[in-house]
Amino acid sequence: MNTRIRLDHDHLHHLLRQMVRIRHFEAKCVELYQAQKIFGFLHLYDGEEAVSVGVMEALGAEDAIVATYREHGQAIARGVAMDRLMAEMLGKQEGCCRGRGGSMHIFDRATRFYGGNAIVGGGLPLAIGVALGDKMQGKKALTACFFGDGAVEEGEFHESMNLAEVWQLPVLFVCENNLYSMGMAVERAESETNIARKAAAYRMPGVAVDGMDVVAVEAAAREAVERIRADGGPQFLECRTYRFRAHSMFDSQAYRSKDEIETWRRKGPIARFEGWLRESGLAREEDVARVEAEADAEIDAAVAFAEAGTPEPVEELERFVTMDQVPS
């Protein structure tokens, strides 16, 4: 199997660029939230960027993605247009869901992005269905299904893992284990805290990977994807990661210590990767500065696009509650 990653200059810079785009996009979202231009819940991916960036590198345009309510990272890494994403955050007609979905429900047909799903575990049955539909139509596509450690506590996780294996569906299950389902620690919620090991109960190959290491995630994802393409059946990948910020915008963080957060911050995926690139002579300070400047310019343009967007007319409120036809 050829699961080696191209560790060339361009690819490594691309990985850094993707993570920085996500981090800076969300930093801008925080500003816009505080300015009351983004509403409701805002679940930040800060600290977990390596997971979606690494996994997306292993996927092709034909593959499908199902994600969670913490899915800005997946959307950006997948290539959902940032301007339409930001317009959605601002609830505008130009948003990818015309202001009906918001932060937690990003859908993008063009990139086979089957949502943002704000019910913990709710995306897993959907993902196996997309994989089933593709398989029945003879498409050589797989579905990457992202979910958190909290979803593992749900029955839908177990039902979906089982059915995917019984029916040999091409699904890459990606558990983003950030150690907390909101405030509930994994060791308080799970009898078996080694989540990757649960896959064995369904006879599904499962591995755990350092989710703070983008190269390790990409390598593991590529290996899993190649196995799916070769064997047809599902694979399980647990990415061990950490959420640096509150569950949504604000919480008391009473469920974890400041020391713990600081310890993980030092292992942060961007700081670590950037440091490694510099130490290895693969990137200089000005390279990093350029990546950041380019990301900021893209984000500024996205914000300008979103701010200039139009509110969906209230007369359109009920549009799409039912569809006149199946979009093709």
Binding site: P125, D134, N162
Partner: protein, 329 residues
């Protein structure tokens, strides 16, 4: 009318599924025991042999997973028919039906449709007590984004499925357990039905009885009782529980000026309440008597036959309610 051949409701449901599978290679059926067992109510018997395991899929007892799989497959281009053995078990898939199937077209800004049909058995009367006797279709009729069908006659059992599959939206079909053995003539000249309108099943001038599913048959039986008293009851078959065909209801109310709504579900927060309120809002001045409802008694369905019978609307109850409205005309 052309020559009419008799057919059971069960056979009509089966032929509808068979037609759908023959007509569209993207259509497939999945559910618990739909294949080798032949369906809990024997609706799908023989389909596995004809269409194979790829298109007649026996599922594990994982309602949420296979209903969600139907939603995902529909979004990916298939036309799944998902059978949930009974409405009682559909509660284990409520998350997928309510949070995904009903929301995704709107929530995605129209990027995705969910052209999915979910069939399930519903209703009471089989002496199987509280956990197997629910009539919860009224709950589902509360949810925007879903179309809810309740075939009560052979013709609808035979032809509603094709219309449901042609709908780009999620459609739930509730087949009443007491109707599977019902046999009736099927007009060979009819090869389609609409899934938008209620239908008048019996003309009358004195009082309107509104029902669906097994409640329709009870309303028709009540109309026979009333006829003996010289009362001509009109009977409306709702057929489509969402979106409600208010116009057909109001037209009948304007004609008879008296209404009894029959609903095997519990009265509180019922579909009957919704229908009554629509009449109150838009047909109030056509009424010559108060609105009346004959609904299921508000108890978990008991096992003992005499208790179950007492808990359900019966033709005599419906006729009594109607007489009360007509008296003193």
């Amino acid at each position: 009318m052309s020559d009419a051949a008799a057919m059971t409701y069960r056979e009509a449901c089966k032929q509808a599924i068979r037609d759908a599978l023959l007509a569209d290679p993207k259509c497939f059926l999945m559910g618990e025991d739909v294949g080798r067992y032949g369906g809990c109510y024997a609706v799908t018997k023989g389909l596995l042999e004809e269409f194979g395991e790829e298109r007649i899929r026996d599922t594990p007892l994982s309602e949420s997973a296979y209903v969600g799989a139907g939603i995902g497959a529909a979004m990916a281009g298939m036309r799944p028919i998902v059978e949930i053995m009974t409405v009682n078990f559909s509660l284990l898939a409520l998350d997928q039906i309510v949070n995904n199937a009903a929301t995704i077209p709107h929530m995605s800004g129209g990027q995705f449709a969910v052209p999915l049909v979910i069939r399930m058995a519903t209703g009471a009367g089989r002496r199987v007590a509280a956990q197997h006797s629910h009539s919860l279709e009224g709950w589902y009729a509360h949810i925007p984004g879903l179309r809810i069908l309740a075939p009560a006659v052979i013709e609808d059992a035979r032809w509603m499925l094709a219309a449901a599959l042609a709908d780009p939206n999620p459609v739930l079909i509730f087949e009443h357990v007491m109707l599977y053995n019902m046999e009736d003539a099927l007009d060979p000249a009819v090869a389609e039905v609409d899934i938008a309108h209620a239908k008048c099943r019996r003309d009358g001038r004195d009082v309107t009885l509104i029902g669906y599913g097994n409640g329709l048959l009870k309303a028709l039986a009540a109309a026979d009782l009333l006829e003996a008293d010289g009362i001509a009851a009109e009977v409306i078959d709702l057929r489509v529980l969402r979106p409600l065909d208010t116009a057909t209801i109001l037209a009948s109310v304007a004609k008879t000026r008296r209404v009894v709504i029959v609903d095997e579900g519990w009265k509180s927060g019922s579909l009957a309440a919704e229908i009554g309120m629509r009449i109150a809002e838009d047909g109030f001045f056509d009424l010559d008597a108060p609105l009346r409802r004959v609904c299921g008694r508000e108890v978990p369905m008991p096992y003992a036959p005499h208790l179950e019978d007492a808990a359900l609307p019966q033709p005599a109850d419906i006729a009594a309610a109607a007489r009360g409205l007509v008296r003193g005309r």
